[in-house]
Amino acid sequence: MTPDTFIKFGIDVLIIVIKIAVVLVIGLLHVAYATYFERKVIGHMQVRLGPMRVGPHGLLQPFADGIKLFFKEDLIPEKADKVVFYLAPVIFMASAMVNLAFIPFSHNFIIADINIGLLFIFAIAGIGVYGIFISGWASNSKYAFIGGLRSSAQVISYEIAMGFSLVGVMIMAGSLNLTEIVRAQENSIFGMYAIPQIVGFVIFVIAAVAETNRTPFDLPEAESELVAGYFVEYTGFRFALFFLGEYIAMFIMASLCTVCFLGGWTLPWYVLKVLPFLQHVPGIVWFLIKVYAFIFFYYWIRATVPRYRYDQLMSIGWKILIPVALANILVTGLVKILL
């Protein structure tokens, strides 16, 4: 290798490292304020004020919580499998964060623009189940174990429905590359796949809520019966890792929904035709607005809908969502062939 190629390689690596740092910092700030807004939004929906004490309107509350968690004592159950116990939150958090690399935030900002981005997101999300599973097992506690079993059964069931709901998008876009999926939507008649793929969209939204263990499908953490579920034995910063991982996973689901169904960083052409000045707004703004809307939807249903029973959850997933998603694939394929 000549020194020239070395310098080029070095610059490429540097650019990627800077991109990763930017995404990580902004992502973690988003997570911190997602917790704040969750408490605020749900508070106002229940006619309360939510956090008000730290800073104006409680704006510094996430930092107070973070510092508190950082200085808490780190406890390990005596009978726990120590190595696996340490490993579980790391696997959970890492598998959530890796997926940030595949999300196209704007037309020129993506860390890894690979041909099968969508498949890799599924692959890495599948690894996250291990974090949940082995944290429940390694804690050597009944509540954690049952929480871990429930959670992993739920996640692998709804993963199938979610994968099938996205097959319609793959067929319509003809690609697994997330950037190309957005471009295909930009050039389609409706401007976003949420309209022609409405069935897939609804299935995806339901599965995304179940996949991230949120209300009304938060049975793994059902506090009235399981205390806190799989992470009940974790304290201090190890608990914070689970917490962070869950919120990053929510953002990944919201971004995936935005990219695959809501048109990513683009606006539908008919909107641009009516309001042409909007095309000067940078794409990242539209991307973030769509993601925030999805996150707000998470909070909204948490404040509104009561929790399902476990058998109801399983029968919704296996008897309704998966058959409907399969039918959707069939119809989408037929339409694609006939048109």
Binding site: I116, A123, G126, Y130, A153
Partner: protein, 170 residues
């Protein structure tokens, strides 16, 4: 040179990890080592320009099959280990058979013939993307074997269901 070094690492790591997997006493630890093993195998696929295989390796084996394994392992009492008497008592007999098998495999490697290069060169696959090339071949040239594989899997699933239901009734 760098590619060979990478391959050497992955080949060595895969062998070591496989040995680690089968020598752990605790089945949950075995499963976790196997997860690491799957990542290494997926990396080898990536080196062969087979990114679709790499992703599917992780989705199907790591994300699906191993999780089901873990379910079984967790729900069975691992404290009371199941003791099965050995099929063959003497280790020397087993060693002889294993060595003989190894010699047969090593000898058969000599008659290994490199297949004639087909239509798909590395450049063509990179240009057309691996997913598309694989999909096209599977659904045109190899449609029949593909469907047979699907049928066999369906039979296995139905068979498992029938066995489980029969157990429930009695």
């Amino acid at each position: 040179m760098i590619l060979e070094l990478f391959f050497a690492y992955f080949a060595f790591a895969i062998i070591v990890l496989s040995i680690v997997v089968i020598t752990r006493r605790n089945p949950v630890h075995s499963v976790l080592w196997m997860l690491l093993l799957f990542f290494h195998i997926a990396s080898v696929y990536l080196f062969l320009n087979a990114e679709f295989m790499a992703a599917v390796q992780l989705i199907v084996y790591a994300g699906g099959i191993m999780v089901l394994f873990l379910f079984v392992v967790l729900l069975v009492h691992i404290k009371e280990e199941i003791k099965i008497s050995k099929f063959i008592g003497a280790w020397s007999a087993g060693f002889t058979f294993a060595a003989a098998l190894f010699v047969v495999v090593a000898l058969s490697l000599r008659s290994f013939v490199v297949a004639p290069p087909g239509k798909y060169t590395i450049e063509l696959i990179q240009q057309e993307t691996h997913t598309k090339a694989l999909g096209k071949l599977l659904y045109t040239e190899f449609l029949f074997p593909f469907e047979i594989a699907a049928l066999i899997l369906t039979v296995a699933i139905v068979g498992a269901l029938v066995l489980a239901k029969r157990r429930l009734k009695s």
